[in-house]
Amino acid sequence: MQISHFLPTKPVPKPLLKNREINARQIAFAAAFLLPAGKLLEVPSILAKHAGGDLLLPAVLHFLIQILVILGVLYAASKSKSPLLERLKSALGKMIYPIYALYALYFFLAAVLPLLDAEKFVYATYFDTAPTLFSFGVFFLFSAFVCTKGIKAVGRCADLCLFLFLIPFLALSFMAITETDFSHLLPFFGTKLSKSLTAFSRTTPHFSDAVLLLPLIANLRYEENDGVKIVSGYGCGALLTLFFLAVFYALFGSLARREHYAFTKIGQYFPALSVVGRIDLLFVYFLSVVLLFYTCLPLQYVTYSICAICKTERKTLTAALLNFALLIFVLFTNRHYNAIYSLISGKLAPVFWLFANLLPLFTLCLPKKTKNGQKLQNEGTMYALNLEKEDNKVKKSSRKGV
């Protein structure tokens, strides 16, 4: 509030803050602060296990590929002002439903690894004694709730992740950096290339980020510089992850391969902790809020896809059924964690390549306009078009100096 009252002279047109589904900044924040959360648990130890001191190499390679895919999708999105999804619907007609179904299956698969990671992480970090299996089961209540929310909520969640991710990330990094020895990372290219490639292959599901941004970009009404924002956001996320990987390996050296749930471990050697207690865990808990959001993200996409296929708005039922199925899955497969993990990150890696890196590039083949020219059928798009008109009005009137 401001006490000084500067009262109006001339009314000016209203800003258009409200009610857009998602904007480029939010996608950029999702790329920068939400997606890296998934790479701070098991990825560092997997990379260290296979690539040793060269763990940054496969990560960089992954990021470069993802950036290329994102650039491709953004280029496709930039060709028209109507959202990519609308153009896709228009171009494919009823063929969109099999694609929805395939992606629903894909996202279901993509949700498994973060879910398994999150489950083990919770048991290891939140409990001194062995908890019951149902302790993690509550997560599915939260997940079901999150799944009922739309794309707009994902965007806002990404905004919030700026604070939720950066504050604990910087605090934990600060705690770790005092104890690090970056010479562990030397010499560069000290590990055989084949091992680095194995690390690259084994971490493919974890780094399949472009596909997680795809539904967000598909709902974006592309404007000038949006591409720069999103790619910069992803670049920022990549740098934060690489920094984390470097700190992690510099801290643990050759022991890094055994240090699971990396971000829970890196702050524990901070000297002050012996006096004040494990305050690093507070930051870990803080960061795990972002991890929970990240774990729910593919599940949200599964819900959207199923709702689109069934042409229903009843997300609650879909979300409840989906999460119940996942709860059962987690309960029954708990003992086969390693087998499932190696199956998904090993044999099923090509599936991730196909859905995350190749299929999204087919958006480049989409026509610039929908079949009916610019006339779009979807209500959301009509709303977007109305906003566009208003935008133009505002621009015109501001040019007049109103």
């Binding site: 803050l17 908890p131 302790s135 494990r278 865990l281 959001f293």
Partner: protein, 523 residues
């Protein structure tokens, strides 16, 4: 019969039928030429002295030009009336005396000019008259005139304007709203002396007919929002509006939410400041709590005093409030979860101290905390409701006897009492958040006792997701953090200096963006 008739007897009979209550009184008197007049009013809410001096007395000296059956001519009546005006020195001497009987409208006009009352309006229907009488105004009826005169001689028993108990400031204005909406409107007008300040009073409540005044700054507040609120207020079908919280509940888009979605304040300076930011205010008759819309969650962390001290101090106190709020809500839950699931979170020395104090305790940590928290809530509730004179005894019994003996008897542990007491104090650093904070504290305790720190984190994540998807009148509750509005962060946890806050908050969608213009910004 809906409209007033010319017969006073008929009108009185109808009114008595419509308002049979004993507190509705009728005062009859006559004009100088014997025409009967009647004032109907509700006893106890009218200034009778004023009514007698400014209504009955002038009328009793008036010769009303009404053609009655007693045979008096219009000429004589008008002559007397004109000469009386001459004596008062107000009359236009050149005006010719009408020879014909006056029109009804002219008679009504004559009565209006005779009454020396600033608040005067005419009505023609019984329904309007009835509502005005019930609202505390008086209805004047004159025989032979089918128009009623509403005299605003309302004199309600109101308390003095004083410092509000919920929002005390050390530096800054100390006035607070009271229960009378007119006084509250005047307190607002005193602070915003601009023609752009608009107030519109609506009547809400089928039985209470409560005045609900919508206040906004024209050109600053969002017009769409104003229309939405007005429509929603007009749609309300409720018997009684006892307090502004009723209106808040009705306006709230999420009826079952723990978080409130309408801002409240008892301070006119704060209310005026919020209006000048672009918000819309609602004053409700009978309530000292004013409502403001749109509302964002961090609003409650701000105090009016933040604007009267240096920005650094304001930032520090805001952060302090934020930390205190987190401590208030999370500390009991955190304590329980560390004891049950994750002892590592505490330093070793503290763990040992706690361990020694909880040894031989018959209750589990969560049950113990539950009992202590319950005691706190009961003591709080009792101290609010009980008579003042017993309050001191309650403090002694509650805090000293109960607490001390429970610990020495080994029923409760000292850390639990310290934690709950500290949590209780911390919660009151944000007075508007007490109810919500109290509920959340219980919920966090429940999840912490069940699944430990993971439950706390999960519940935080749940609340955050709930809040990011919660909008009230198009404004996100977590703005400006989510969606992120960088410029609005200047007056949030961190408070910038006044000159940096030269733009109105973006989330308010104000028609006028600039609120402070200096030479520097003009350049």
């Amino acid at each position: 019969m809906n409209t007033l008739s010319k017969s006073l007897q008929d009108n009185q009979a109808t009114l008595q039928k419509l308002l049979p209550s004993e507190d509705i009184l009728y005062y009859s008197f006559k004009t100088e030429n014997g025409i009967a007049c009647l004032i109907a009013y509700a006893d106890g809410v009218v200034n009778k002295e004023l009514l007698g001096e400014l209504v009955a007395r002038p009328l009793s000296h008036l010769n009303l030009p009404i053609n009655m059956q007693n045979g008096r001519t219009m000429y004589e009546i008008n002559k007397k009336s004109t000469s009386q005006k001459d004596n008062d020195g107000n009359a236009n001497k050149k005006q010719s005396v009408p020879k014909n009987p006056l029109e009804d409208t002219d008679i009504a006009e004559l009565i209006k000019t005779t009454l020396l009352f600033p608040e005067l309006k005419t009505i023609t229907s019984f329904q309007d008259g009835q509502m005005e009488i019930l609202d505390g105004n008086s209805l004047l009826l004159v025989d032979g005139v089918d128009t009623g005169f509403i005299v605003g001689a309302k004199f309600l028993p109101v308390r003095a304007v004083m410092e509000p108990p919920t929002d005390v400031t050390v530096k800054g204005p100390r006035e607070g709203f009271i229960e009378d909406v007119k006084v509250n409107m005047s307190l607002l007008r005193k602070r915003l002396k601009t023609p752009n300040l608009r107030m519109e009073t609506l009547r809400v409540g089928k039985q209470s007919y409560t005045a609900v005044t919508l206040c906004w700054l024209d050109g600053v507040a969002d017009e769409d929002l104003k229309t939405q609120i007005k429509n929603k207020l007009n749609e309300i079908q409720i018997d009684n509006v006892a307090d502004s919280s009723y209106i808040a509940a009705i306006l709230s888009p999420r009826k079952r939410s723990v978080f409130h979605t309408v801002g409240t304040t008892e301070k006119p300076d704060l209310f005026a400041a919020k209006l000048s930011e672009g918000r819309i205010g609602i004053l409700v008759d009978g309530s000292p709590i004013a409502l403001t819309l749109p509302y964002i969650l961090t609003e409650d962390l701000q105090s009016s005093e933040d604007y009267f001290v240096s920005p650094f101090m304001a930032t520090v106190t805001r952060l302090l409030r934020c930390i205190a709020l987190l401590v208030a809500i999370l500390l009991p839950a955190f304590y329980v979860s560390t004891q049950l699931f994750k002892m590592q979170l505490l330093p070793l020395g503290l763990t040992l101290t706690i361990a020694s104090s909880i040894r031989n305790l018959p209750l589990s940590p969560s049950l113990e905390m539950f009992v202590v928290l319950l005691l706190l809530e009961i003591l709080k509730e009792a101290s609010i409701r009980m008579p003042k004179y017993v309050g001191m005894s309650l403090s002694v019994v509650g805090a000293l006897v109960l607490g001390e003996t429970a610990v020495s008897a080994g029923f409760l542990s000292t850390p639990a009492i310290i934690i709950v007491a500290f949590s209780g104090i911390c919660l009151y650093t944000v007075p508007n958040f007490v109810e919500t904070g109290s509920i959340l504290r219980w919920l966090f305790l429940l999840v912490a006792g069940s699944i430990g720190p993971f439950g706390i984190v999960l519940f935080i994540a749940f609340l955050l997701y709930y809040l990011i998807s919660a909008d009230a009148f198009g404004t996100p509750l977590l703005a400006p953090f989510s969606p992120l509005i960088a410029t609005d962060l200047r007056d949030n946890f961190v408070k910038y200096n006044m000159f940096s806050l030269n733009k109105r908050p973006v989330f308010l969608n104000s028609g006028n963006k600039t609120r402070l213009r200096t030479q520097k910004t003009q350049k």
